[in-house]
Amino acid sequence: MTLLTLKNLSISHHNTPLLASVSLAIEHGDKIGLIGASGAGKSVLSLAMMGLLPPNFQISGTMQINGEAVDLTDDAIMRYRRGTDLAIIFQDPRLALNPIKPVAAQIAEAAELALGVSRVVANDMALDSLARVGLDHGIIAPDSLPDMLSGGQCQRVMIAMAIIGKPKLLIADEPTTSLDTVTQAEILALLKQLADEDHMALLMISHDLAILAQTVDQMHVLDQGKLVDHAASPPFAKTLTHRQSQQLIEASRLDIAPPPVASDPNHRADQDIILAADHISVTYASGFNVFGIADSNKPILRDISLTLRRGECLGLVGTSGAGKSTLMRVLLGLERPQQGKVRLAGDVVDPKRMTSAMQRRISAVFQDPNSAFNPRHSVRRIIAEPLGLLNNNMPQNMTDQAITEKVAQALESVGLTADMMHRYIHAFSGGQRQRIAIARALITNPEVILFDEATASLDTLIRKQILALISDLVAANNLSAVFISHDLAVIRAICHRVMVLEDGQCVESGETEHIFHNPQHAATRRLLHAIPTSMT
């Protein structure tokens, strides 16, 4: 019998339609992918199936579980389905766990609820479940709190919690979006394995076709609240023919080449080095004495050296916690290393002594498009902010007219229009925000730009556009760039050279293609292995 049937499910919120007439059938043991760009209604669908939408959403249509109709709006009924028939894991596993309850207890609670077992039995089951998701006693203590675990471990806890009631269907809503590629690959493999073992149906929701392709057997495409395409078996690239599907497939192929290097790579002279880091070490204080002075330290970066030549794109790659962001702050002069020096075109970079002339030469694009802009400033003010660095070198302050022109120019150069400069940041989508960030970074005509996970929070469609834009801009403005990412695929698309970081140390570096074909270090191999295989 069909495990779950959705018929004509429509959902709207304050007369804004979010889902229109979605019909879906899931059989026992099915592994189904649901792909869609952001805003397509993926999360609404998953929450609706769990009965977790707030009451002020209007829901019509029916859902049947094992042929039995269930009322999605009746919490009392849905509650008995959750945990036993249906389970779900979410996008942000760190926020999804209660921060002050030991993880084993949170899992045990699920067992108690789903199976009606006693506390003691539930505790044992929780330990078993943890072991099943690869968190044996040796890896984490069962009474660990979520904040002691990595993002991947938290997601494993979530999975352990979800599967403990032996659900018939597990919904995974963007389960790996906030994780690095290596962890992502591990989680995907785990989900697949558990689904097979328990003969559990899996509904994987993602914006990334590459991720889904290696996990699921069927694929649905959601676009603006409608299911527009369906592929019953791989390879999906051939079966999915809808325009939206094609775009998504196209986006998952990162077939961009690094910008051409102006000078001949074989004749690079030392004076070509624009940015150099020399034996950098950073430690963070982790305890304070009576007088508030640090008395114990935790190393973050250990003896890192790097050079960046003019016109070159250098990739810094590593899993979360490898020290990438700290290194970036050191390079930018936002943080002073305990040891070592950073030189920008020969001048020492020091947070206390950054002249505007030096500052002008280097800029950055940060990861999180939500916190990267002051929400109370207009786009014009945001982009114009670094112009102050130019002012000091000019006899007069720049006129309003000049600023407006420069901002307009910058906006146009990143593919936006000049009339957007008077809007505020909340009016822009994630991709547009990243374009604005790039415009801001470019306005002072810097020589070096640092990109910190500049595409990590974007969906695949946008990611490809932004990467192409960066590549074009770097080439057009003869920029040097440092590109930080956890995703080697992204690095490969844009960087000439790559440096692999692990635990604050550089474990391998070299030409990108060379590393790709001949990885030496285990960490590099793990990163390479984590790149989703092509779906073709």
Partner: protein
């Protein structure tokens, strides 16, 4: 995606309702205070002992007090006094507390932060009343002392809230961007951090303002607030305590005025909160504390 949250439209309408009702209450009261500069039904200082403690009548709409003065006129004349005590008290707290809070959060020195926050804690241990008593012992009683005492008490309140909110902002990447744009920390504090924590501070200020009105009443009860002949609601209420059996209107009228004003301010604060900061966004916990 956080679709399960309450609709912003609903919030906005609830906020508007509170803002309108609070605004109407406070508007009427402030208007009465403004008019008092030009006109009151009677001279609020003229005494008529033989005509004292008269209940409300056509001659004196809200009755007369224990010296035979017109209560409506006094309430009107007291409005600017009471409101300015509360306002100045809150302003002192803001002027003192916000820069200190910003410094504690932004100057990245644990020792400095520690000294400021602990100092704030200790200052906080002295309710405005004790502060007012010490100050009065030194400089004599009066509304300026009441303002100062309420103000000093408010400093650690704003220090705490500013520090907590600024700590959140400090990790926002736009702060990094601003530093890369060559801006100094004080400038970043003014251009970026202050505007973004302003809602939190404004809300706290509305809470403190209503508490300050109550504190003025409390101080007056102990004779530490406005001194004769300066009228204030708190003093009128305190003066009437012993006469509640003889002339209940003397206590009820200033008491209701205080209550209405406080409720009005709180409604506005609630409305602002719903408008500016619908989910309180985990930014900081508001410090709501009784002062007196």
């Amino acid at each position: 995606m956080r679709v399960w949250r309450i609709s912003p439209f609903l919030i906005a309408s609830a906020g508007r309702r509170n803002l309108i009702s609070g605004g109407v209450i406070l508007g009427i009261i402030s208007l009465a205070g403004l008019i008092s500069f030009f006109w009151t039904p009677a001279d609020p200082t003229i005494m008529n002992i033989s005509n004292r403690m008269q209940p409300p009548s056509m001659a004196a709409w809200l009755g007369t007090d224990h010296f035979g003065r017109d209560i409506l006129s006094q309430i009107m004349a007291a409005t600017p006094v009471t409101l300015s005590v509360a306002l100045v008290g809150v302003m002192i707290g803001m002027i003192g507390g916000i820069p200190l809070g910003l410094m504690a959060a932004l100057i990245h020195k644990p020792f400095f932060d520690h000294v400021l926050t602990r100092g704030g804690d200790v200052l906080f241990a002295f309710p405005a009343i004790i502060m007012a008593m010490l100050l009065t012992a030194g400089f004599g009683a009066g509304i300026s002392i009441a303002m100062l005492a309420i103000g000093l008490f408010n400093i650690p309140v704003f220090l705490r809230i500013t520090r907590a909110a600024a700590m959140q902002q400090r990790h926002m990447t736009y702060i990094h961007s601003a530093r890369l744009a060559g801006k100094s920390m004080p400038r970043i504090a003014c251009e970026h951090i202050l505007p973004n924590i302003a809602p939190v501070i404004i809300l706290q200020a509305s809470i403190q303002f209503s508490l300050a009105i109550l504190a003025e009443a409390g101080l007056s009860y102990l004779g530490l607030g406005a001194q004769p002949p300066t009228p204030s609601w708190g003093r009128m209420l305190a003066d009437s305590q012993t006469m509640i059996g003889l002339a209940p209107h003397m206590a009820i009228i200033p008491g209701l005025t205080i209550m209405l004003t406080v409720i009005g301010v709180n409604l506005i604060g609630e409305g602002l909160r719903q408008r500016l900061d619908p989910y309180r966004s985990r930014q900081a916990n508001y410090v709501e504390m009784d002062i007196s």
